[in-house]
Symmetry: C3
Subunit: 278 residues, 3 copies
């Protein structure tokens, strides 16, 4: 396998500080010929689970290289989470072992053929700069021997998977799916896939009842009223203002409104559940 | 002509999701030696016209390469807008045929010598990743034959041009110009150019009356009172707090306040009209 | 010394306009093999001092190259601030001579061995594109002779340094330190360094009284009540909700809360003073 020549970088660093720029500078110094591609740095601060879902969606679309991922509330915690490097096929991952990486590994096919190492030397307040970026650079040189002791990938931390629950009581065909992300356009991405809703497909139009179930109920966001959505193939099958359910560009079900925000219309946040009933 | 080695990328994708990063990854995979320069990804969601004006301002400052532009509310609409590639001199454009590209073509001198192709294969929910980025990469390899059928560039979609109206009734020398953009510093860019206001020039100071005409009048933003602006050559000719009218870095007239936001002071939004009277 | 092959770019341009992209395009045209690393473009508009402190923190972590820095309210002021190039060892700086660069020079060891030049040709409204980026490119070619007349680096503009005041009256060991920056995570960076608080060190836990002193007092943000902070080595030494004082990744003292915003908890803004009493 050739040494990687691309680093894909995701974090919760934001771009208002120079964290991202300084990590780029460290990579430039240690591995000057490597291209660094920013996936996003706007994961919500400290939101390991949200970052892990974002990363898992992106990785199937990446070429060979090193994914440098940093959402790391445990940075600087003595005896806290490990920093790890993980290899699976031509893809490498470098990041904290706090659950951030495992959904991405699953998205690439699980732990078969995966190897992992515990990186030495963490413990400062900016491990992204001081530990993780140097490890990514070392992988690009092929200097794998600097990665520390090999560990069992089965021991990598896992966070609870996004909720997808099927309810077939009393002849219902309902599925409850977690809202994994809202994108900039207000599309509501669900943890469910088309196979979770087998009674409808995108070949013929079907109506689905959509009930928002806010995870943390409060007066302003009670259990939502059921609303009607049309299961369609593409945005263009919808009338203006018509709620649609389609398969998004990552293969998940998503609630959408043409040229408008379905998230705002439904008053939905990431982490809420959506009940789909046919 | 050499194959392009630079892609200039503009979109309304924002940077909170991984849309931009994934498109970069696709380009890295298909055309690894190409440099990708982000022009901006903060065009307002779905704002084709705003994006087209932003792009038209930037293109005169770009070197040879491929402009990949995506503001595309019609993505996924069966039988909807085409995806196109356009070449003019050493510059290429790839994007939806919804009016996003034509102002930029005009800014480069119009359609003389322009050729255009209709890209095959669109119709998913993420054509930027699946159709447009691969087409940009193909152009960088010189694989123009993959671009599909050649079409007539005169048939490319055009949106209404920004308003510039002259009013010479009763001996007035007035021009009404659309606010095409507000920049981060609150400078108010107008569609008008210095030649639209021939009675004043920047060689000698002149006073111009400025009347904001909100496009969508409502109680909180009525027709503005006329205010005085000084036609000056540069920011430095203005006193603190003094409204100025100058030629901005793109050759357009702009209303400015030194170290402050003229847009906020005048309560102006993009799309409003400004009447300038001498 | 080899010609630089990296440009580090910091500005207050934001990323919603195409200022940053156009400067990248100019650099790509003039110096195609040079890598451009964005440090940040979200310095507050016109905030020269804030930008200078941000830059000073980043530069110790950069490799050899040209720092292109633009926070420039005086752009377009005839007879206003100069545009300058400065060299110190393998590092170059290009920017306005308004105080933006000097803290970074100090962070690299001061003016010994520093040389400076006044760039010709400024005076438009977008010197970043028209003067500074071309100068950065010229330095990357080794075309130093185009930089204009050499000037005395001792004459470069300096802004007031961040406040660090010691108060030893009546046997107190107090230090008043300016809040130089708040980062995305709400960590409060102080101008003081550990040596400014010699009676406590990070080897053993100590309690420090923290009194916020808003620089511009007003009813909603009166002089703060003293609160207790624990001087610790790392985030992980703190309990949830416990305020800590630690040495951050740039060697400065910082007030932090584990997985929460110390800035919000203390109602602190950049420019405020913090009194630390042991």
């Amino acid at each position: 396998v050739d040494a990687p020549d691309t680093v894909y970088f995701l974090s919760d660093y934001g771009t208002a500080d120079t964290f991202v720029g300084v990590v780029h500078a460290v990579l430039r110094g240690l591995a000057p010929s490597v291209a660094v591609i920013d996936l996003t740095h706007e994961v919500a601060p400290f939101d390991v689970r949200g970052g892990s879902l974002t990363l898992a969606q992106a990785v199937p679309h990446l070429g060979p290289g090193v994914v440098l991922a940093v959402v790391d509330p445990g940075v600087g915690v003595a005896g806290g989470r490990r920093c790890v490097a993980v290899s699976v096929g031509p893809q490498w991952f470098v990041g904290p072992d706090n659950g951030l990486l495992t959904p991405a590994l699953d998205a690439l096919g699980g732990l078969d053929g995966t190897r992992a190492w515990e990186l030495p030397g963490h413990g400062g307040t900016f491990d992204g700069r001081d530990v993780l970026a140097p490890a990514a650079a070392a992988i690009c040189w092929g200097a794998d021997e600097s990665l520390g002791d090999e560990i069992d990938p089965a021991g990598l931390v896992r966070l609870p998977a996004p909720v997808v629950e099927h309810d077939t009581r009393e002849g219902r065909a309902a599925v409850r799916a977690e809202v994994t992300a809202l994108d900039r356009f207000g599309n509501v991405q669900l943890a469910a896939r088309p196979t979770d809703l087998p009674t409808v497909d995108d070949e013929k139009t079907a109506t689905v009842m959509v009930t928002p179930l806010p995870r943390f109920a409060h007066p302003e966001r009670p259990r939502g009223e059921p609303v009607r959505a049309r299961r369609v193939r593409a945005f263009g099958d919808l009338e203006p203002g018509e709620l649609g359910l389609l398969v998004d560009s990552n293969g998940h079900l998503a609630l959408v409104l043409p040229e408008a925000s379905a998230a705002s219309a439904l008053c939905i946040a990431a982490g809420d559940l959506i009940e789909l009933t046919t």
